[in-house]
Symmetry: C2
Subunit: 167 residues, 2 copies
Amino acid sequence: MDFATAIAQTCAGLEQHPEKGAATFRADHTLTGLTEVDAEIRTHRVTIDEPPSLGGADAGPNPVELVLAGLGGCQAIALRVWAAKLDIAFDHVRVRVEGDLDVRGFFGVDESVRPGFSAIRVRAEISGPEPHDRYDELYKAVEAHCPVQDIVTNGVPVTSELTVTDA
Amino acid sequence: MDFATAIAQTCAGLEQHPEKGAATFRADHTLTGLTEVDAEIRTHRVTIDEPPSLGGADAGPNPVELVLAGLGGCQAIALRVWAAKLDIAFDHVRVRVEGDLDVRGFFGVDESVRPGFSAIRVRAEISGPEPHDRYDELYKAVEAHCPVQDIVTNGVPVTSELTVTDA
């Protein structure tokens, strides 16, 4: 079965059984070094760390870089899925993401500075045989349906709690 | 130099030269497979993919899982940094993160369903020799200064643009 048919079947299935759309994703983290973190995501592992300029040993990307990677990866995958849905052919996709952040917020040096990004810029590039306006149509659909773009743009209710354990 | 001294020096430097707090982080992405994406983050690479249930080959965590990993990693590192700032000793840290998402939003099956997470839950665990109220004090500081928690909770202005290229 080709990808477009698989996506069409998935969508038809979700229309018939809307409750099957509900999913819960998880990641579990252990602080294994000074600032090194081992993230377990199903069968996958990602090492997270800070660069030396932020006190770490640079064993992996840092947390805010992972958010940018999530956003760029999400747009790239959404381009694939929505190109299949809209029957738009393409050859190559690249997505470059940048985020500006003032580390004074994280370190509490200035409490008026937000800890997170103040701005994120995404530049997607696509090549292929279709007229440009079809790619513009595709990218509008991607921007409207990309989960990470929604999360990062609109925010999510986060509940957090700390447990003090014995071990 | 121990970690607490290094963090104190970083903070003192940022107080004297606030302009040195400004940083730009980047990630570049290439769609290399059906839904497989190669993310380049400085010298690091992360493979992103979707599980078979979402049309992929599961070569890596998916984009929304990376956001959860960013959040858990960020809290773990913030616990380390703020424990040093507040002179709080601890032995072990774990952070478990879950996010609920209805995939009908991504697939455009129901345009009233948001594509991103509807809720995120974080459960951090810490062990160590201090009285519990010191860990509560520590976690309050972490929640207030964790960059990814700020990003995911409050959102960020995102600008995005598509370029149609020849190659």
